[in-house]
Symmetry: C2
Subunit: 112 residues, 2 copies
DNA sequence: TTCATTCATAACTATTTGGTTATGTAATTG
DNA sequence: CAATTACATAACCAAATAGTTATGAATGAA
């Protein structure tokens, strides 16, 4: 993942509405109306948030009739996670413990 | 950490210049001029980036004469990390493995 | 066929962001 | 003291962001 993609991922995560949507999507695939339900904003505003998440590669969209079914695309989230983890592992001991476990079990570069 | 602080942390991380500065700070405390050296932008632009990082709580500043010594404040970075980890662990097997390890070794809520 | 539902797009606005140049202040050096 | 260094602040600008209302297209239901 290059710097510009990482820009997009972190920018997408910098809005509470979008984080809320991702949190909902962690429960499983759903359509846009369901994702929108908790928020008091117009439908086009929701549509824009979806585009931001999609532009960052954080979600995938499939169409089923008039509904757009949205699901998480975990890889970019993982890249962001790994970026933070890499630069925080030096000062946060928990990561050292995790890292030791990963090294011991050859999990440092898992296949999925 | 509340939603607004998390907004600020992710927004701060959404710029490659600021991520670069944090990466440099992972090597240890340094002054602003040293942090600025790799970037072809004006000194006030650097000053603004520092304010963004400081506003997000990601760095701490102490003065030594005319220099401002900057160091990482790891707690907010860890919050962002944990947010991502929490919502990604459900779909990324590495986190499942890590989680199993943490549970097994009672490391789920370490003291530091 | 007609109406309702689910979504996108266009056009607009206010605010924020990331940069600039110009200037100022405090600390160090010569 | 005078010059340099290390920073901040002010004022400005262009572009991006997050919202709005109005409109339209496609699908599904009555």
């Amino acid at each position: 993942m290059n710097e510009k993609q990482l820009d997009l991922v972190f920018a997408a995560l910098s809005d509470a509405t979008r984080r809320g949507m991702l949190a909902r999507l962690a429960q499983g695939q759903t359509n846009i109306s369901t994702l929108a339900a908790p928020y008091k904003m117009s439908q086009p505003a929701i549509s824009k948030h979806m585009r931001v998440l999609e532009g960052a590669g954080l979600i995938k969209r499939t169409r089923k009739g008039r509904e757009h079914l949205i699901s998480i695309a975990p890889a970019p989230a993982r890249e962001a996670h790994d970026w933070i983890a890499y630069y925080t592992r030096h000062w946060i001991s928990r990561f050292d413990e995790v890292d030791a476990y990963l090294a011991k079990n050859n999990l440092k570069n898992p296949k999925n």
